[in-house]
């Protein structure tokens, strides 16, 4: 059983208008096997939380801590965090020209497990995961994210989630830009990976529609850099009906 603790997290970012505080004291605990949904209006800091957990250099932590099984995550470099078991499915994954998906996946897997995967089982694993995500076999020959459609980018992120087997996965608006069919395929991929590896899931979303396919145990409403309210799945239903107005006006 692994545990990810976020305590009183304050985060700033440099803007043209000077330093701006985005996260204003976030507290959150996620355990293996749990699914947490973070919902909130645009600009509430949801993505900042995701990128801060992953260690993006743009964000500065001014107060608070993040602990993974008691280890200080904030002391770790981006790659150390990934090797420690944190995974971020990005909203806008970047293109890496000239680097094939197959080379990238193998390099990442080798880095995470500390040794190169046995070739035959690896190829089988990759093929299996791709088939399940309804991705064509030729996909591995393409360059990472280069010329990918929005849906292909998201499937590629979830493919990595399945193959890299993290302890905790943060999904940053993985549902955005997907049509219903693609949303279903991607959600099933997340559920399958979770079933297989029992990771803790932090699902960041603006909309409730992905929650039809990925059932959260906990729902947190994120407003102005903090968690404004939390509850069970029924909270998502209420947000579906009422929207965020109640929180924004308050």
């Amino acid at each position: 059983m692994a545990i990810l603790q976020i305590k009183n997290l304050h985060v700033t970012v440099e803007t043209e208008q000077g330093t701006k505080e985005i996260l204003k004291g976030v507290d959150l605990i996620i355990r293996s096997g749990e699914s947490h949904a973070i919902m909130g209006p645009n600009g509430s800091g949801k993505s900042t939380l995701a990128y801060t957990i992953a260690g993006h250099p743009k964000y500065t932590v001014t107060e608070g801590e993040i602990l993974l099984d008691g280890e200080d995550v904030l002391e770790m470099s981006v790659d150390e965090r990934a090797r420690a078991g944190l995974f971020l499915a990005m909203q806008y994954p970047v293109e890496i020209p000239g680097v094939s998906v197959s080379n990238f996946l193998r390099t990442a897997k080798t880095a995470i497990s500390g040794e190169a995967p046995a070739l035959r089982t690896w190829i089988k694993d990759v093929r299996g995961a791709m088939d399940a995500l309804k991705m064509d076999n030729t996909f591995t020959e393409r360059n990472v994210n280069e010329g990918f459609s929005g849906g292909e980018k998201k499937r590629h992120e979830i493919l990595q989630l399945e193959l890299l087997k993290p302890k905790f996965a943060v999904l940053d608006e993985t549902d955005s830009g997907l049509d219903v069919d693609a949303l279903k395929i991607v959600s099933e991929g997340v559920n399958r990976a979770k079933e297989a590896n029992d990771f803790g899931l932090l699902l960041i979303t603006h909309y409730t529609r992905i929650l039809k396919y990925i059932k959260p145990d906990f729902v947190h409403v994120f407003v102005a850099g903090k968690i404004a309210e939390q509850g069970g799945p029924e909270l998502a239903d209420r947000l579906e009906a009422e929207g965020y107005d109640r929180y924004v006006k308050a």
């Binding site: 992953a54 260690g55 993006h56 250099p57 470099s77 981006v78 790659d79 965090r81 990934a82 090797r83 995974f87 971020l88 990005m90 994954p93 970047v94 293109e95 890496i96 020209p97 000239g98 680097v99 080379n103 990238f104 390099t107 990442a108 880095a111 995470i112 360059n143 990595q160 890299l164």
Partner: protein
């Protein structure tokens, strides 16, 4: 804009005049061409050819007289290919072009004989010639190589430069009618080497040339590549890849002269730079003359700056004298290493050093993959690894 005469003597006379006036020549076709070093003034920033290079950098290659090259030349070739040393009276000597700057002219006049490699008309695509140039001589010396690909010939010629020479070199590439050849020039010198190489290609009717310049090791590497179409249907692809370390200077000058109709040219150069005072220069001149209707040309240069303190100059020049063309374009971009790419790879557990390697390898792959020779591809990949290793990035 004037359409100048394309025959060499007339150009020579005209340009000599402009040169005397001390005004930088603006029109590409009007630049002085001469085998006589005395026709060229000293290396000075006033003239476009030397805008980035200094006499000091050339380490004596801009002197009036150089030693004749006495280093090793090794050759591997299949049956049918012939080699010979020939003097300036030989019809192939000077058949592909004439020097356009002082170091090239100095080497031209100082190498009394040229090493002539002839691909016969029945040479097939698997015909591979390897010319190894390996020298430890540090006095400025001159070498002249002529590659004569006879009409209908096929094949690949690889010039492989190694050692620590100070070398002034002229390479002539005669591509006969209907011939299709690849020429690869690899500069993988020791860190002290200084190399100025002028490579002239002349393309016959419906001929194809794929030319590639790979510059890795050496203190100063300056390669000027020109391609001239003499008949319709020619197709030239000029490819280049370079990797400059701290203190290293790599200059590539390209000139494609579309003088006749319906020819195609593609220029693609990519470079990576790292370390303090790593400096690369790319100048791509394309001239589409009045008569060159139906021309199709595109040139591209991209540079990837991996660290602070490195500098990449990139100057595309397109001169168009006719509107009746298929297409003409250029693109040039020099960018810093993308931190978002680094973040993405690191977020997948890949450490910073390995992530940088992946990105650089990926960036240069587009060129490497076009070599079409596995042995050389893997050797170059290994050289790039070594470059990255050296910097400890």
């Amino acid at each position: 804009m004037t359409t100048s005469n394309s025959t060499v003597p007339a150009q020579h006379g005209m340009a000599e005049h402009s040169h005397g006036a001390g005004v930088p020549i603006q029109i590409r076709s009007a630049r002085l061409r001469s085998a006589d070093v005395a026709d060229f003034g000293p290396v000075s920033r006033v003239e476009e050819q030397y805008r980035y290079i200094t006499s000091e950098r050339l380490a004596g290659l801009d002197a009036d007289v150089l030693d004749e090259y006495i280093g090793d030349i090794s050759i591997k070739h299949p049956e049918g290919v012939t080699t010979a040393w020939v003097g300036s009276e030989h019809p192939s000597f000077g058949a592909a072009g004439l020097p356009e700057d002082r170091p090239s002219a100095a080497a031209w006049g100082s190498a009394e004989q040229a090493y002539l490699v002839t691909l016969p008309g029945d040479a097939t695509a698997d015909c591979e010639v390897q010319i190894g140039i390996n020298s430890e001589t540090e006095t400025p010396s001159a070498l002249h190589i002529i590659i004569d690909a006879k009409p209908f010939s096929r094949g690949t010629v690889i010039l492989d430069h190694k050692g620590s020479a100070v070398l002034g070199e002229n390479v002539e590439i005669i591509v006969g009618d209907e011939a299709e050849i690849t020429v690869i020039s690899i500069q993988d010198w020791d860190t002290s080497a200084v190399h100025n190489s002028a490579q002239f290609a002349k393309l016959g009717r419906n001929s194809r040339l794929r030319h590639m310049v790979v510059s890795l090791g050496g203190k100063t590497l300056r390669v000027s590549t020109s391609a001239e179409f003499t008949a319709t249907g020619g197709d030239v692809e000029l490819l280049g890849m370079y990797f400059a370390d701290a203190g290293q200077y790599i200059e590539n000058r390209l000139y494609v002269d579309h003088a006749v109709p319906n020819c195609k040219s593609r220029v693609t150069y990519k470079g990576a730079l790292q370390g303090d005072k790593a400096h690369t220069v790319w100048v791509g001149d394309v001239l589409i003359r009045m008569a060159a209707e139906g021309t199709d040309t595109y040139e591209l240069n991209r540079n990837l700056l991996l660290t602070d303190g490195a500098r990449a100059d990139s100057v595309p020049n397109l001169e168009i004298e006719t509107g009746k063309i298929e297409g003409a374009g250029h693109a040039s971009a020099s960018g810093r290493f993308d931190d978002e790419q680094l973040f993405y790879l690191q977020a997948r557990g890949i450490n910073e050093r390995e992530a940088r390697r992946l990105v650089v390898r990926g960036f240069l792959n587009e060129i490497i993959q076009k070599i079409g020779n596995e042995e050389i591809e893997s050797r170059l990949s290994a050289s790039i690894e070594a470059e990255l290793e050296r910097s400890g990035s």
